[in-house]
């Protein structure tokens, strides 16, 4: 049996393939030893050792940049990566793609555990999230008095929404006292009538952010009566506090931005509102004018015919009802029938109809006769409304020589002389000043004019 002959390269390649298949991606725990960072390439070469053995490791410069904590000599680490064979020397090493400082992994695990727990309690649920007020005038900020985060928040607020007054609760955001300081601030501010609360700090390592991953801080935020925005660090940092917040911001600046309207937008909106107000007053007067025009045409000509037609319809219906009454089957109906037939002899439908037709044509005649003065009135009133239309506000109308008449002592504006008696006192508002008058006599409009 012949033993196959391999080239050296083939052996190393084959070993490399086997290692990769056998191990896949692994995690190794140990201490960094013999760390060298290559001057030119920036790759890191080191060993990871435990009491028994040492394993060679390499970490490419591009990967190294992504680590939150860079490796250092003697550091306890968890390394993640794949085993690769260096073919030219037949040696193998771990190509590291992730490095966790010891304890950091524990923090990570604690973070995930707390996250799961609070999530299960429903603290992150969208239904709990409150809507932020649109125009917060009193804004509470819980953060370090000396941190860059505060400066960022104040800068944005100053530019966007200087109207909002800021109340700062100075609190350590990292270190031993951080949790209790944050909790105290959130609790105290959370019971006030502040419009909004911003809890914020700059970015940092997982350890720096520990207070924002603390259960007590999370619960304080959840219990806050005041809608709360949390903005921690740079985009990549998400803390438990972020999940509990009503609104989460990626940075302190963004927290300030999300929380406030832009005063310039608001100014523009107010001018729009003002224009709408003026426009709708003008169009109200416009419509008055149109109605008067319509009255001028329809009342004089079409309305009498309408009335006659309506009268005829009513009479037809009455006649129908009478006929239906005749067919009623019960005893009582029979009595009514007798009654009705007697009335019918006097007022048979056709007789009634003829009578009413006569009355209606007389009415129509009266309408036509009354049309002319009516028309005149309509023209005068429509001219008046037209003049009002040209001006915008009541003041301008007054400037043109019109006046507003009210019952004395701030009573309603008067439209109808019938509401005033001789001897009553009236206030007449002119463009400049007022007259206090007494009614001598009054002339009422005739009934046709005021009927609908």
């Amino acid at each position: 049996m012949t033993v196959p002959v391999w080239t050296v390269g083939e052996v190393n390649r084959r070993v490399g393939d086997l290692l990769d298949i056998e191990f896949g991606r692994i995690c190794v725990e140990g201490e960094v030893s013999g760390l060298k960072i290559h001057d030119r390439s920036g790759h890191a070469y080191f060993g990871v050792k435990d009491p028994e053995a040492l394993l060679s490791c390499v970490c490419w410069a591009s990967t190294l940049d992504r680590f939150r904590t860079p490796p250092s000599e003697g550091m306890k680490v968890k390394l993640y990566g794949r085993l690769k064979v260096y073919e030219r020397r037949g040696s193998y090493q771990l190509v590291v793609d992730r490095l966790d400082a010891a304890g950091e992994g524990d923090l990570q695990a604690a973070f995930l555990a707390l996250k799961r727990k609070l999530e299960a309690e429903g603290l992150f649920s969208p239904e709990r999230k409150r809507v932020l007020p649109r125009y917060p005038l009193r804004i509470g900020v819980v953060t370090s008095a000396s941190g860059a985060a505060l400066q960022d928040v104040l800068r944005v607020l100053k530019h966007r929404w200087p109207v909002g007054r800021v109340f700062l609760w100075p609190a350590d955001v990292q270190g031993a006292g951080a949790v209790s300081a944050l909790v105290r601030g959130i609790e105290r501010f959370g019971q006030t009538r502040l419009d909004l609360l911003i809890v914020t700090r700059g970015g940092g390592s997982l350890e720096d952010l520990a207070a924002f991953n603390d259960e007590a801080v999370a619960r304080a935020i959840a219990d806050s009566q005041v809608p709360t925005v949390v903005g921690v660090g740079h985009e990549t940092d998400t803390t438990i506090a972020d999940f509990v917040a009503d609104v989460r911001a990626a940075t302190p600046s963004q927290a300030a931005e999300i929380s406030t309207p832009d005063q310039e937008d608001l100014q523009r909106k107010l001018s729009r509102d003002e224009r709408s107000l003026r426009r709708s007053l003008a169009s109200r007067l416009d419509r008055l004018h149109l109605r008067l025009q319509r009255a001028e045409t329809s009342r004089a000509f079409s309305r009498p015919e309408d009335r006659i037609r309506q009268g005829q319809l009513d009479l037809d219906r009455l006649a129908d009802r009478l006929r239906r009454g005749l067919q009623s089957p019960t005893e009582r109906a029979t009595r009514r029938l007798d009654l009705l037939s007697r009335r019918m002899q006097r007022e048979a439908p056709d007789v009634l109809l003829a009578k009413a037709k006569h009355a209606l044509s007389a009415l129509g005649e009266r309408w036509r006769r009354s049309a002319e003065p009516n028309l005149q009135k309509g023209r005068t009133r429509s001219n008046l409304a037209g003049a009002r239309l040209k001006a915008l506000g009541p003041k301008q109308v007054l400037a043109r020589g019109y006046s507003i008449v009210r019952a004395a002592g701030g009573g309603p504006i008067l439209h109808d002389a019938a509401l005033v008696d001789g001897g009553d006192f009236l206030d007449v508002h002119l463009y400049r000043g007022e007259l206090h008058c007494r009614v001598e006599t009054r002339t009422l409009e005739s009934e046709e004019e005021t009927s609908p």
Binding site: L168, P170, R188, L277, S280
Partner: protein
């Protein structure tokens, strides 16, 4: 909390909401002339209030401290960088 708390801030949000309401009512146009004028004037008043409030554009920052008796006190807080 502080003495600021007792003096009620002008309800800016309410004023704006009322203003929006008035604009809508006036635009629907089903009002008598007196009402139209009254609402127009109310709207103008609200506009003045809102604009005045926006005019007070100077940022005010107070630092809040807890006294030993548990009450809160606010002090003027000046930022280190003063002018930008």
């Amino acid at each position: 909390m502080t003495k600021e708390d007792s003096q009620k801030p002008p309800k800016f949000e309410d004023a704006l909401e009322r203003l929006e309401e008035l604009v809508e009512e006036l635009e629907s146009g089903n009002l008598a002339l007196e009402e139209t004028i009254a609402k127009f004037e109310e709207g103008q008043g609200l506009l003045r209030t809102c604009t005045e409030l926006l005019g007070q554009a100077e940022q005010k920052v107070k630092a809040v401290l807890e006294r030993s008796d548990g009450s809160l006190a606010a002090e003027d807080f000046t930022t280190e960088d003063g002018d930008e």
